[in-house]
Point group: C2
């Protein structure tokens, strides 16, 4: 499944990713793989001596990348951000620096990459039991998003899916019911988001809901409930109202449904790719691929 | 998988289920199956003429059940509840009556089956990718449970799993993080629930959390995060803090992970089995089996 996905990159213009703190075995192993699949090109900002040693261990040919010497963590983040700001790279990737350090550099008012939207996390899943690529947001950044945050989170995810070539992704607003119900206040917000989409105030997507998850991803379930909607049973993006339900969705897809996943933080002028040591190499590749695609579209 | 589960019933004392509004094809089809697997015995409260006609269609031998004539919906619910109150049956099942009608009869102060706990829903999953039976609560009844409600919901689920023969089920309190964090107020409630369990104020189980879902069900994920807990990676019960995350968990297990599921409403002096027309016959059987076991333990 992932091979089919990665084949899309063959022959495309390669985007460049700037890694903050590249002196890390897990990160350089992923870089080697990404080069093998021709997914992206790289600036490795980090401790040059360590990068050289680790590269030998993971069989990474440093002639294929650009190395920028920097041993200080904060400076690693700043230099990687500068590479994007100067147009030399179009996506960032976290290496051996804290997530908070790289996000601080991204959000810096003077030298950062701050856009007009709130930052949010989008996860891209290849699920063996679903008929298309499925995106889930926001399982990692926004705990209890306000209405305006929800709009930003949706627009961030839509821009990511647009970048993948889906011009009008279907966004399902998830709740436990299919009807607007004052006992579940989020359904009133959902009603407003659907209206804004219909009035073209949220563009480049089709938003509908509230849906229980089954109605968003199963045409049979939607039919049984008598739901008529272009989104029902065919969602591209699963929007969960807060972090816990999104996180449960994310984890149950990877743990129980054997899904592969890639993720990025978006909303700034370049995506931030986060991979963790615990990720499988497949998942690291997907994150890099997602970040490269989103970065290239900005 | 379900066959292995249902084999447990062979040779056990059979419990009796009273069905409110049994004149329904989907319900009588499930009764026929439950009899074939020797899971339970039945009182069919409903329109006798219709029950006879439908029974022929689904090849149900009415000699194997007791039929109680009643055509009025509210009376169907009341009579089924009376059968439990009189000790003739130990579980209720919803047939062609509204859920609200049967719950009203259950909660009736004079003639009902009200106990001291809040009613809640428990779902029992057979998940091909998990090493034991997994319970999720509450995906259907309590929208935003208070602290006291949460305690009741946990105790309800624990009593169900105890009834299945697990004397100390492991309860994982689910959040998006593994640490108590004031930004997620539910983690403070979780801390208190864990303390109450350690002080033996919540009995017959081991409660731990907060966990992100992966740490609750994957020993590898827990190890990576450095979590040391008897519950980590080996949860029997997944407790979600509100209905949306529980519902997402429920639906993603059935839709993406090919899980079978049975469910019941518990907390009164007898469980209420709800099956819907859209349920697969496997899932209907699991619901009846779960209800029969819980009912037999009361």
């Amino acid at each position: 499944m992932i091979e089919t996905f990665l084949k899309r990159f063959k022959g495309l213009k390669k985007n460049t990713i700037a890694i903050a703190g590249a002196h890390d075995e897990s990160v350089l192993g992923a870089v080697k793989q990404a080069l093998d699949f021709s997914i992206a090109e790289f600036f490795l900002v980090g401790d040059k001596a360590k990068i050289e040693t680790i590269s030998k261990q993971v069989s990474l040919d440093l002639k294929k990348v650009s190395v920028v010497e920097e041993t200080d963590e904060i400076q690693c983040a700043k230099k990687a951000v500068s590479l994007v700001k100067d147009g030399k790279a179009s996506a960032l990737m976290k290496g051996k620096v804290e997530t908070s350090t790289i996000l601080k550099a991204v959000l810096d008012k003077e030298n950062g990459l701050r856009g007009t939207r709130k930052l949010s996390h989008v996860a891209m899943f290849l699920v063996p039991t679903y008929h298309k690529i499925l995106f889930v947001t926001d399982a990692a950044i926004n705990i209890n998003p306000t209405f305006d945050d929800k709009k930003d989170i949706i627009e961030n995810a839509v821009s990511a899916v647009n970048a993948l070539g889906v011009s009008k992704p279907k966004v399902a607003l998830i709740c436990a019911k299919e009807h607007v119900d004052e006992k579940m206040p989020v359904t009133l917000e959902y009603q407003k988001l659907v209206e804004m989409n219909r009035a073209d105030e949220i563009k480049n997507c089709i938003i509908d809901g509230p849906f229980a998850l089954d109605n968003a991803v199963s045409k049979d379930a939607a039919k049984t409930k008598g739901i008529v909607s272009d989104v029902a049973g065919d969602a591209d993006i699963i929007f969960c109202p807060e972090i816990i339900s999104a996180n449960v969705m994310y984890k149950s897809l990877t743990l129980f449904a054997n899904a592969s996943v890639g993720g990025a933080i978006i909303g700034a002028n370049a995506p931030v790719i986060l991979t963790s040591r615990a990720d499988s190499s497949e998942n690291k590749l997907l994150s890099i691929a997602l970040g490269a695609i989103i970065g290239g579209s900005n």
